[in-house]
């Protein structure tokens, strides 16, 4: 049943726009978190990592594990464990990412189709590992009290706290990635390797290590995204496959290789989806958004902001 604005009073419409605007921003931060890690891996290195969703799930499972350990052995820390758990998610996902790069990805840089297949296989292996270790049913960590409930600026407006948390997290992460990439030595090395591998090697940059580090960073960010999602929904062995399509959508639409493109693309897609979901219904909203993306990509196949130099 489509919404007709004329049925509501002015104050109600104001509340609608505020809450709907927030829902759109919330979705934007979710998409941004997911896409940031992939933008680095796919955008910077040209590696199609189909296991990216599983790295997110890995981060989520790490939070779950921390939650179990805290409630079993350290119940006094129930309030603080969550922030620590996010750090754990980042580190574990990054280390596993570095391992995967060393074991598999580094042999496949010049073979994109093989990377596709290899990372697809990796995602299946990871999904089964989750299934065997954590069980086939979905799990949720016990969220700390301060994360539940909502702010109530007025009677009609409810702003969920976990939505704000995810937004702040994605803001901090984006800022952190930007500062790292553009203001630090290692970031400089990363950008140099992407732009001109041979010259970078000649100048003394250890391109092998830089590649490993970049991949690990992308996976670590995916882990943090997964950790953030435990506040929104439950985690199961195949949760990763639910996120991967939207993630690639955002990165390709924004133009691979460009952080600004990723940010604008996630914002655009999130707002389009929220608004169309509000005025149409459920699945129809998603259909409308996807049709819009298809049309735009047909007119501009390289995405909104393609980078001028690629590996």
């Amino acid at each position: 049943m489509p919404i007709i604005l004329a049925d509501y009073s002015i104050s109600e419409i104001k509340s609608i726009f505020i809450m709907q605007g927030f829902a759109g921003l919330s979705l934007f931060s979710v998409l941004l978190l997911m896409a940031l890690g992939l933008a680095i891996i796919f955008g910077q290195m040209g590696v199609v990592n189909l296991a990216h969703g599983e790295f997110m799930a890995l981060g989520a499972y790490m939070v779950y594990l921390c939650s179990q350990i805290t409630s079993d052995h350290f119940p006094a820390f129930q309030k603080y464990y969550f922030v620590v758990a996010i750090g754990v998610a980042f580190v574990v996902a990054a280390i596993f990412g570095a391992f995967v790069e060393w074991a598999m990805i580094r042999f496949l840089y010049k073979r994109p189709l093989d990377t596709l297949l290899a990372t697809w296989g990796l995602s299946l292996v990871m999904q089964q590992a989750f299934r065997s270790i954590f069980g086939a049913r979905e799990v949720t960590p016990t969220l700390p009290e301060w994360l539940m409930g909502s702010f109530k600026p007025t009677d009609t407006i409810d702003i969920p706290i976990n939505g704000v948390f995810v937004m702040i997290l994605s803001l901090l992460l984006t800022l952190g990635v930007y500062l790292f990439m553009f203001r630090s030595r290692t970031g400089l090395h990363m950008r140099a390797t992407v732009q001109n591998r041979i010259m970078s090697g000649a100048v003394g940059i250890n391109t092998t290590l830089v590649d490993r580090f970049t991949f690990a960073l992308g996976c670590g960010i995916a882990g943090v995204a997964g950790a953030a999602f435990t506040t929104i929904g439950s985690t199961g062995p195949d949760s990763g496959s639910r996120y991967i399509v939207d993630t690639f959508l955002v990165v390709v639409f924004g133009g691979a290789g460009n952080m600004l493109g990723t940010i604008l693309s996630s914002f655009g897609i999130a707002q389009a989806q929220s608004i169309s979901e509000f005025f149409l219904e459920g699945t129809m909203g998603k259909v409308a958004t996807l049709m819009g993306i298809v049309v735009i990509l047909m007119l501009r196949p390289q995405g909104l902001f393609p980078s001028k130099v690629r590996v």
């Binding site: 049943m1 927030f22 086939a136 539940m148 409810d158 929904g233 195949d238 509000f278 459920g282 998603k286």
Partner: protein, 412 residues
């Protein structure tokens, strides 16, 4: 008694007769009494000591949260039957297949179980989509399916026994209760996007508009696996319905109820009635996100009767103290028992004979007494439970035995 003598055959016959009677009393059903050639004339997987059945549920995927309970309950029933001597003196062997929450996979595995493995019956499926996917195969291969989930009705097949309630038993009685209890006039219908929620809401809408004289202020569907319900919740806040009628299925339940609570929609401000949340889903959602909401089911783990208490104890002993038992899990538990009773009444495993022997069979189940109807559904009661923070429901209302009516007039 006269002294033993080889010239007194009647004497020996009497003694032999006593021994045989004694043997029969202590071994009521011997496989030898039911020779394979007589109980299996259709080439099923039956030997002198075993009979093979199939199990087809989603052990993986978004539906695993709901279907794992059914898998466990069916296994418990089969173990109990085997411990008591099996069916027609034969031990039940189970071939387990994983539908993986993917309907074409269900169809493929069903074919394998019926055509390759020639199982005598299949305990399987959960969503209506999976049942619809396998139905043509069961009808073509003349298989036997015991289907545990409450569903939308509008179906009746010679090859399926429906252990769960159909729409008139579950939906109509539930809506009647909530309309009376809460004086509800406006309803917001939501559901996951596939056949069961859509058909159920269609039936619910007809009942609300024609019988209860209420209004449906919104009706929306979201894909299975959806986790973002922000827009929907905002719309609900706008419309302020008397009752939210929710049929969200599988893992999405977790996101939906968490986001509902985060948005400040709690039971003291908003009434919510669902027909898709059982103790299994409550375990994943977290009781604290469900407090005060209502579910309409035929069974709740908290039911007080001796059969249920024994069943809950046995289930927890096998699967752990923290296990929970939902409506579908209990219905799945009834499947192997109903099949056993039918096979014994028919003295055969042949599907046609088992089907013919089934109507009228009664079972003392944890939910109470149930009876198989001519239309292959069960007579059962409807209960309304209110969720508590511990993930268990308090039963507030219990109806009488409702006759199953999968093709109600005026609702199609």
């Amino acid at each position: 008694m006269k002294p033993h003598s080889i010239h007194q055959p009647t004497q020996r016959r009497k003694i032999l007769g006593l021994i045989l009677a004694g043997a029969l009393v202590t071994h009521p059903i011997l496989a030898a009494d039911y020779p394979t050639a007589k109980v299996n004339t259709t080439g099923l997987a039956v030997t002198d000591t075993t009979v093979t059945v199939g199990q087809l549920h989603s052990a993986t995927g978004t539906m695993a949260i709901s279907e794992t309970g059914s898998i466990e309950a069916e296994q418990l029933a089969i173990d109990q039957i085997n411990a008591a001597g099996g069916v027609l003196g034969r031990q039940i062997k189970v071939i387990k297949e994983d539908g993986a929450s993917d309907w074409p996979t269900f169809a493929e595995k069903a074919k394998k179980l019926l055509v390759n493995d020639k199982v005598a019956s299949v305990m399987g499926c959960w969503t209506s989509a999976s049942r619809k996917a396998v139905l043509p195969i069961f009808e073509k291969e003349n298989g036997l399916l015991y289907y545990p989930t409450f569903y939308e009705g509008l179906e009746q097949s010679k090859n399926v026994f429906y252990e769960g309630q159909e729409a008139t038993q579950q939906i109509l009685a539930g809506l009647d209760w909530i309309a009376k209890e809460k004086k509800a006039k406006t309803f917001y219908l939501i559901g996951s996007d596939y056949i069961w929620p859509r058909t159920s809401n269609k039936i619910a809408r007809k009942h609300i508009e024609n019988v209860l004289k209420g209004t449906v202020v919104g009706e929306e569907y979201y894909a299975l696996g959806q986790t973002q319900f922000g827009s929907l919740i905002n719309k609900i806040k706008l419309k302020k319905p008397d009752v939210i009628y929710a049929i969200i299925v599988g893992g999405s339940n977790v996101s939906f109820y968490k986001q509902l609570k985060a948005a400040g929609i709690t039971a003291d401000k908003q009434t919510l009635l669902t027909i898709s949340v059982t103790e299994d889903e409550a375990l994943g959602i977290g009781g604290e996100n469900l407090v005060g909401f209502y579910s309409a089911m035929k069974y709740f783990q908290s039911l007080q009767n001796p059969t249920n208490e024994t069943f809950v104890k046995a289930f927890k002993a096998k699967y752990g103290e923290k296990s929970v038992i939902g409506d579908v899990t209990q219905a799945a538990y009834e499947g192997p028992w109903l099949w056993k009773l039918a096979c014994e009444k028919a003295c055969s495993f042949d599907v046609d004979k088992v089907v013919a022997a089934s109507p009228g069979i009664e079972l003392d189940a944890p939910e109470g007494g149930v009876k198989i109807h001519q239309n292959h559904h069960l007579w059962s009661k409807l209960r309304i439970g209110q969720w508590g923070a511990d993930g268990q429901a308090k039963v507030l209302y219990e109806s009488g035995l409702i006759e199953p009516n999968p093709f109600p007039k005026g609702y199609q």
